[in-house]
Amino acid sequence: MLTDQELVVQVINGDQQAFAELVERYQQAAYNLAYRMLGNPGEAEDAAQEAFLRAYQHIKRYDTSRPFKTWLLSITSNHCIDRIRKRRLTWLSIDEPLPPHPALTSSAPQPEASTIAEERNAAIQALLSDLEPDYRMAVVLRYWYDMSYVEIADIMETTESAIKSRLFRARRMLAEQLQTGSTLALSVAMESA
């Protein structure tokens, strides 16, 4: 199997099939990041597709000493933060109920398990949506991608100590949200913990 770097070289030489292979490898990583950041399946799909397209357009700028996944997630991260900022200029609706993710509602074998997963997911998204985009991104990369502080700092183009601070503040805010008990999170969190 070819490495990511070998595939990138082929893409630069005009092989679109090599890019298709990279999309297959990292579509879930990019899509999940966009979904956790934006909280909406449709917008997440569009944002993740846009991130792949940008990666394709700027493939020559990719530094092969970095992992391709890190570079792609960095593009996705910047694009999602831009979208959130633009969205705030037009409308702000953190009180709107978040739509459940189709992947958690469609193909689960047991209805009860599906409902629990759906509720937990909605609770997580509700908690995340209250965080500032920079804090949200740090939390998502830490929990869903199991990244170290250094790796998160690399993606977010900041320092390790900034990430340490963002994670601490984000966790304190999330904990305070549990204390206020205003979201669905509390009950679901108690069940799932």
Binding site: Q28, Y31, A193
Partner: protein, 191 residues
């Protein structure tokens, strides 16, 4: 140690970034401080909840849609030089068509070629058309010029026209304002 430092330590503890001594110190503090103990419980709940949450999968057609966008971008890139080429060629042809008759007339070629029956007729028609366009353009320019010079030479007329424009726009603005106020009143009554 300050209260805030223990809060930072809690976050680091969740990422397994504390030394054994620091962990011990944090545990001792949590046993004596109920506020921090509560925060630690909540942070742990969040930690468990988020850690247990799986990545969500993209829709089945995601990959195909990305490749369609890539293909669309590539085809745009393929056509771009052609589009630019056609536009440049069209501009050159248009400029030539506009300039050639003038060159033609200035060289006196119509007189030379007029002796050829068919070509002579074509040249006659083209020349007449070109002269007609020139007359039309100069007539429009002259008319505009006359109007402008009249208005500039007659400040009183210019003032009258400007005043009329200001009055008309004020009147329209007033009417629109009244209409908007009425609409707002009606909608607030119905609400």
């Amino acid at each position: 140690m300050a209260h805030n430092s223990y809060e930072v330590m809690m976050s680091l503890a969740l990422d397994a970034l504390l030394t054994q001594e620091e962990e011990k110190e944090l545990n001792q503090h949590l046993q004596s401080c109920s506020t921090c103990a509560q925060l630690w419980d909540d942070m742990t709940i969040i930690n468990t909840m988020f850690t247990a949450s799986a990545e969500v999968a993209p829709p089945a057609n995601f990959s195909a849609n990305v490749l369609a966008r890539v293909e669309s971008y590539e085809s745009g890139r393929r056509w771009y030089p052609w589009i630019v080429g056609v536009l440049v060629a069209a501009s050159v042809i248009a400029a030539s068509l506009w300039a050639l008759p003038a060159l033609f007339l200035s060289l006196g070629l119509p007189d030379l070629l007029a002796e050829w029956p068919v070509i002579g007729e074509i040249i006659d028609a083209a020349t007449r058309g070109y002269i007609a366009i020139q007359i039309g353009v100069s007539w429009v320019v002259e008319l505009a010029n006359t109007w402008f010079s009249y208005l500039l030479n007659e400040p009183a007329s210019l003032a009258v026209i400007l005043t009329a424009l200001v009055l008309a726009s004020t009147w329209i603005g007033l009417l629109e304002g009244i209409k908007a106020t009425r609409n707002a009143a009606v909608s607030s009554q119905t609400a």
